[in-house]
């Protein structure tokens, strides 16, 4: 029979659209905004429309039934639980970003601004469910390209333009590297479908490790490293964060990071149905590479953040450091060939998800306050600009303090729950070799020391806000939506810190089963 007339295959192809209905809604809203914005532009109008678009996407995401494609090896989209988590995270982040960017959107470019934001959101959501190298690449570009526009939209000063150009050039380069890596994967396996690639590589690994596969993996990690600001690829972050408009920077700090981790997990096979069959070497090479990346990222990020006097540069480096913490989750997940007994098992992906959500909450919260306190004539730049905010803007300062305490990782904040899970996960990582196992414990100690280092610069901001008296009090933009976003995000940080169970449960259900599953056992045990 002609394979093309296989009904399952046809069903797989035609069923794809059903799986991306919310993304289509987002893109449709964005198109409407960009097209109709030519006729009538205005902040209030397009804000409302975009919010409706996000809400509609959320409704669709909750209601449209998503059957798994019958032939995963042909499907370019898979609606697995991890994809669902990424989608909800993206939608929530988009809603928060809509609110907090309010003061910096101007009436002439509002439609474009919101349209780009929605496109990027759709991109993140698609990255989470892409099951094909081409789809994945396109989804990632769907995030990058609107971001260039967003960075250029208000680019009036040289610093703005430098930031935009820097981001553009490096982003294009990372895309190129990514494609290069994908070409290796395609060349070796003859397929662009991730399920097929993973299966082929896992089969090959059972006999001998392929050095070419490793080259492909390294290139992918390098390219994604740009998006998650892993250390050798982080150079653009401080400059772009400092130069870009704050709302866009908040977007940059969260959306690409979520997408980057989702993409990394997809390509490395960590979202696969069986956490044990991984396409790459799970004993030392790849985990070791990621281990080194994680340690470098968190250490360098924290140390360099110590030296910053500019709030946004500080937040940029803090974002780098947190990328390092989250890489711990990937390290753990990428070395999970076997789970002993019914033991502890906080899976790496699970911890990563919790931390991503916590990170999104606290970083967006911090940026919301920065945005709220900035005015065009008097932007919040130096940390000292925040002096005495605790007295002049108690609510905003409270939200900021909550976000910062969460970034430090103090208990009763979402950041602590995330760190705890990451630490527990790394401690239980059942690695194959004794050498790697000790490295995991070292990783936890390194992360703990880093968290202590990080506390220094976050606490400095808290100290400036509360313990200094205001010399030149900030006016604040009086942007109610931004303040509302800041308060809601801070409250979320607190609530999920005090009672993290809902988030943990959601993440656990989203992560592939890490406990002993029904079928897989002996054969998948060692690579």
């Amino acid at each position: 029979m002609n394979p093309l007339s296989d009904p399952q295959l046809q069903q797989t192809f035609t069923g794809v659209f059903r799986l991306v209905v919310p993304e289509i809604a987002l893109l449709g809203t964005a198109c409407a905004a960009v097209l109709l914005g030519c006729f009538r532009n205005g902040r209030g109008l397009w804000f409302a429309v975009s919010l409706l678009g996000v809400a509609g996407a959320a409704v669709l995401a909750a209601t449209v039934d998503q059957p798994a494609p019958p032939l995963p090896t042909a499907a370019s989209i898979v609606p697995d639980a991890a994809a669902g988590f990424v989608r909800w995270l993206a939608l929530a982040a988009a809603a928060a970003l809509l609110f907090l960017s309010w003061p910096e959107v101007d009436d002439r470019t509002a439609a474009e601004y919101y349209g780009c934001l929605l496109v990027a959101t759709a991109g993140v959501s698609l990255v989470g469910r892409a099951n094909d190298l081409v789809t994945l690449f396109l989804a990632l570009e769907l995030i990058s390209i609107p971001t260039y526009v967003l960075l250029y939209l208000p680019a009036r000063t040289r610093v703005n333009q430098e930031a935009a150009a820097k981001y553009f050039l490096l982003s294009v380069m990372s895309s190129a590297v990514l494609l290069f890596g994908f070409s290796y994967l395609y060349g070796m396996t003859g397929s662009t479908n991730l399920t097929a690639v993973t299966a082929a590589l896992a089969r090959a690994n059972a006999e001998a490790l392929s050095p070419l596969a490793l080259v492909g993996a390294v290139l992918v990690v390098a390219a994604v490293g740009f998006r998650i600001t892993a250390v050798p690829f982080h150079f653009y972050a401080p400059d772009v964060y400092q130069g870009g408009p704050a709302g866009v920077v908040a977007n940059l700090a969260v959306l690409p990071k979520v997408a980057g981790f989702a993409a990394l997990a997809r390509v490395l096979g960590l979202f696969g149905p069986d956490a044990r069959s991984l396409p790459f070497d799970t004993a030392t090479q790849l985990p070791l590479l990621l281990w080194i990346l994680a340690v470098l990222t968190m250490t360098l990020g924290n140390v360099l953040a110590l030296l910053q006097d500019d709030v946004r540069r500080m937040l940029a480096y803090s974002g780098v450091a947190h990328g390092g913490y989250m890489l711990m989750g990937v390290v753990v997940a990428s070395a999970l060939p076997d789970v002993r007994g019914a033991g502890p098992t906080v899976g790496g992906v699970e911890a990563l998800f919790v931390y991503l959500a916590a990170y999104a909450l606290m970083t967006l919260g911090a940026f919301a306050v920065v945005l709220y306190l900035s005015t065009p004539d008097r932007p919040v730049e130096a940390i000292d600009d925040l002096g005495g905010v605790g007295q002049t803007h108690p609510v905003a300062a409270g939200a900021m303090a909550m976000s910062l305490f969460s970034l430090i990782g103090l208990p009763l904040t979402a950041g602590f729950a995330g760190k705890l899970l990451l630490f527990v996960g790394a401690f239980t990582a059942p690695a194959d070799t004794a050498a790697m196992r000790n490295l995991y414990r070292v990783l936890v100690v390194v992360a703990a020391v880093n968290a202590a280092v990080g506390a220094y610069y976050y606490l400095r901001v808290v100290g400036v806000m509360y313990l200094r008296s205001p010399l030149r009090p900030l006016d604040g933009s009086r942007s109610r939506p931004t303040l509302a976003a800041a308060v809601v995000l801070a409250a979320g940080t607190l609530v999920l810190g005090v009672y993290p169970q809902p988030l943990v449960t959601a993440a656990r259900q989203a992560a592939p089963a890490s406990g002993p599953p029904a079928g897989a056992t002996a054969e998948a045990k060692s690579p």
Partner: protein
Amino acid sequence: MDRFFDAVASPLTGRALILALVALPFLAALALPLLGRAARRVALVVALLHLGLTAAVVFFASIQISARAELAGAVRDQAALRFQPGYVPGDTAGRHGEDNRTGWTLMSLAPPSPGGKAGPAVQFFLGVDGLNLWLAALASVMLLPAILVSWDAVTDRPGAFYGWLFLLQGAAVGAFLSFDVILFYAFFELTLIPAFFLIGRWGTGSARRDAARKFFLYTLAGSLLTLVGVIGVVLTNPDPVTGRVTFSLPDLMGNVSFYLDQAHQEALAGRGEKLAALQQTQGFLFLALMAGFLVKVPVWPFHTWLPAAYSEAPIGVTILLSALLAKLGTFGIIRFVLPLTPDAAVMYGLPVVGLLAAFGIVYGALCAYDQKDMRLTVAYSSVSHLGFLVLGIFAFNAEGLSGATLHMVNHGLSTGAMFALLGFLLDRYRTTQAGRFGGLMGRFPNYAVFFFLVALAGIGLPGLNNFVSEMLMLAGLFAARDGGAPGYGLAVVAAVGIFLSAWYVLTMLRRVFFNPLREPEPADAAVRPADVTRREFFAFGIPAGLCVVLGLFPQPVLDTIKPDVTVLTKVGEAARARVAGVPVPAEPESPPPPKAPAPKPKDKKETPKKVNPKKDAPKKDGKNPKGGEEDEG
């Protein structure tokens, strides 16, 4: 009457009280910032209310614990080597039963297993036992002087000040009452936030911001390593039967001693690798766990945050810092380090930490002598005394541990009272420079009485509280089963420390209270400073009175402490046997209950006996003070 008592003392009441004990300060912390000037009155009322709740808890719990102690005489198997928290809110045994574990889950790390048993989870696990009962009471009592001393001193946003003060107290009470390791850690770190704002915002010195930041960062850096250690302990000691990890401290204790016991049996049978491996792991975990506690206590050389924090903080906060927060460190050692890494505590406790602590005793004392500012004198004396306390803990025997537990309360009372008394001078003269005062005895006779009383309690005058606990700790250090020499050496240093403390305190008293009258300009030039007011009378009188009471009647407290100290002592004996490579001595536990009290009972009693020969006839087991040393072999 009995029926009424039973109803009131039912576990349900106890649980409600425990919850209220933790919840009340948090609620107060939320509400107080909304009030303006009235905040201090409300704060005082709430503090008194809290004290009432505490009194009720102490009353019921001490009866319950003593009853359990008698029962515990009968049950003495390995399974009993765990803490037994009473009045656990959310007890899984239902409304009236007690099985000493809770069903209130905060965060479960894994889905319930197919069998329907809950997965590993962080729980909201509070309870009382002999070790934390009196510390929780201390936390309740010491808030009163803290509020009273701040009464007029704090004028800037008093609502927020008292709110943070209650948050600090609530976090401390929560940490004391926690039996879940992560919950403890959460409360432990939660103390940092209020302390940071209290020191940085309301501090009196010019360096207050640096002091606040230093305090926060030092403690956080240490306690993050403690978190790593806690996670390590949890994950390396899953339940031997189900393989589930647990965050509940009593269960963890059981698991730890199970694995060690098993390895010990193997080692005795000639296969020692497992025990060696376990002990090596313990070594690392011990270091990680101790990191946070060493900073918090603080033990030299991790004390450098202390002088700044104690002298820059508003005096009311200093009272809480010295009376409560420092105790969190020593309490953490007793509660976590000893039971969870017993072998390492035996191997490295006295030889390594003890050495640091001993150095700190002398160093702190010399620094205290050299200070011009009386606040710093008291701050450094705290370093010195707490070093002694750490020595007492790591003696890891009945005398040392009961002494140390008691000394936490005693030191909290006397040091807290001392800082409160310095608040008197701050209120009137805005300075505590010893050189600027002289002859205050005639000027403020009532003040002098309080000051002498508290100062003498601090240096351990017989009849006052510190004497009892210091003697017990010394006895612990001298106990022969520790292997002699290091214990003796450290005991000598500790004794020298007591002498030194007498030296610097008496020197300070001579300068400030005798000599011709000298006083700096009063804070308010219009008013001539008066002697102790009624408000101050209570601020000083409450802790000072308790110093006397505990000095004269320590036995009720020691009785409550005893069951849990016995548990720890057994853990310690087993650990010592493992380290020495000999079987766990069987006799120390079996003789007392079945046989007549003849051979064994000396270790606990010898000291209380000689400690307070005059007062306590009621001491039950005070016979046979001799011969604590030889029976171990």
